[in-house]
Symmetry: C2
Subunit: 341 residues, 2 copies
Amino acid sequence: VSGEFELIAAIRERIEAAGAPRRSPGLVLGSGDDAAITVRGGASATSVDALVEGVHFEVPPFTMREVGHKALATALSDLAAMGAEPAEAYVQLGVPTGRGEAELLELADGLGTLAAAHGVAIAGGDITAAPVLIVAVTVVGVADDAEALVLRSGARPGDALAVTGALGGAAAGLLLLERPDLEASVGREVADALRARQLAPAPRVEAGRALADAGATALIDISDGLGADAAHVAAASGVGVEIELARIPLHPGVAEIAAAAGVDPLGLAAGGGEDYELLAAFSPDAVEAARVAAARAGTNLTVIGTVAAGAEVLLRESGGGVRPPEGFDQLGPWRARADPA
Amino acid sequence: VSGEFELIAAIRERIEAAGAPRRSPGLVLGSGDDAAITVRGGASATSVDALVEGVHFEVPPFTMREVGHKALATALSDLAAMGAEPAEAYVQLGVPTGRGEAELLELADGLGTLAAAHGVAIAGGDITAAPVLIVAVTVVGVADDAEALVLRSGARPGDALAVTGALGGAAAGLLLLERPDLEASVGREVADALRARQLAPAPRVEAGRALADAGATALIDISDGLGADAAHVAAASGVGVEIELARIPLHPGVAEIAAAAGVDPLGLAAGGGEDYELLAAFSPDAVEAARVAAARAGTNLTVIGTVAAGAEVLLRESGGGVRPPEGFDQLGPWRARADPA
């Protein structure tokens, strides 16, 4: 590598070699100038997300490829949570001295492969030295009009609350990465699947669009944890939420890993976060059609609770007890030391 | 601060208190949901830029306010370099444990004040713990259509090459920050102005739009250094560039600081970077009108060279010699240690 611009060119080449398109509909100028140019009507949804080494991941257990994949995946998950169709991504890389060009190209490969899968053009970026590896991603998605996008704020008392896929896998995967001995409780194949939920999550882009089309009144992705994200919907919608913990679909292997580790499987599913499934509210009479739409988009949709009047977020145990929502705090390490009180 | 969401709310409040608008034209949903929503026709220009503590700044000499200002300023400068009208910004903050809430609110104040000055809505963001302070900004600007935006690639042999404002101030300001004794050569007032060029640069947003309207064939902001940025224009346009160093307008005080420090003032002006002035190419018969347009936008426009056939970038000394272009390498610290060869 003879300089910044040669490295950028090599990264761009690897992203394209992975199949990421040079253009998305409406992108008339991609990376290489002072800014990218898009021309299109309709509505755009824009979201930013960042992964920081030592906070969100370590290499290992993550490979550089998985870091690139996950950085884009978490950003695309926010577009899924609007029901938007991904169009472009912009990538800001911070690279520490310990990472050579070959590793950065692996990261580009992971990012480019996921971009290819979703037809996302990497339309711009920025690269700089940094003390740790940082991948900050801005994504832009599109929809015919603003009404086609689903906010957190539309849930109404009486709505059903449902989740895509199954929960707890990412948290169980994290446990497995910390304690390889737990693998014996589920076997290699299930353990691999659980680790993949943590290392290379799949954003529910198609399901998000399907649920939006099916009339979701509120939509959010489960990144902070089911309880915390349900609380976001409740706060934004001015409603309460009741979730029956026993109805939460558990990812295969979560129960076994939890038992082997001596932790509560529902804690992993409701508080663990990073599953990047979708939580949606629907008028009760729209649920069946939504389930069919989700199935067409490749995932289950499971009703786990209801939207209520008030403002309380209740996670009901099958025995009748309730527990408070908890979730991952992005600022945990910062708060723990910055505010020792 | 009791958590991530309270801190985000406090930052958002401070940005609005500084006068940043809640909405820009076309922004129908601002921060707080999974993504912001815009609805508009015409063309959009999108660019990303990041400032990393220890690479781009240290606190001190920067205040937190100046860090917030400069992070947005450098991003807006990329929109100026397209001739776009700034509309929204998205801000990703990485915060180390050593920075308390009050400092982060100062940063928000600097960012919000500049956003207010340019009518930019802070439409979203992300905050996370990080080992050093990181401010990554995505900006979106608008124009009536893609043809109204000016790329780097339109310069033609025979065009005049011109710069706004004056150069070398940011590099001289950096010298002053490293060596306060140099202040005696220019006095306090000029020294303050030079330091401000480094600490709180003003993006040439209005001038950029004026130069685009006046028919600039190519446009770039001078962030890497005049020589390096001229080389970007040359490469993108498939042309050569000749700059007469003696014609470069020097910022007041640069000559004196350079003399006191024993360095070449033209080195500061042509290689120093971070001036965030604009470099534009014009058909010779468009130069006079462009000068008038720039003056209306509050700045000078000075012809410093010409666009030539070929691919060479020549910086001509008044004695007849030439020097190669040089500039700031964002990856300097990375390359120095990652590729010791």
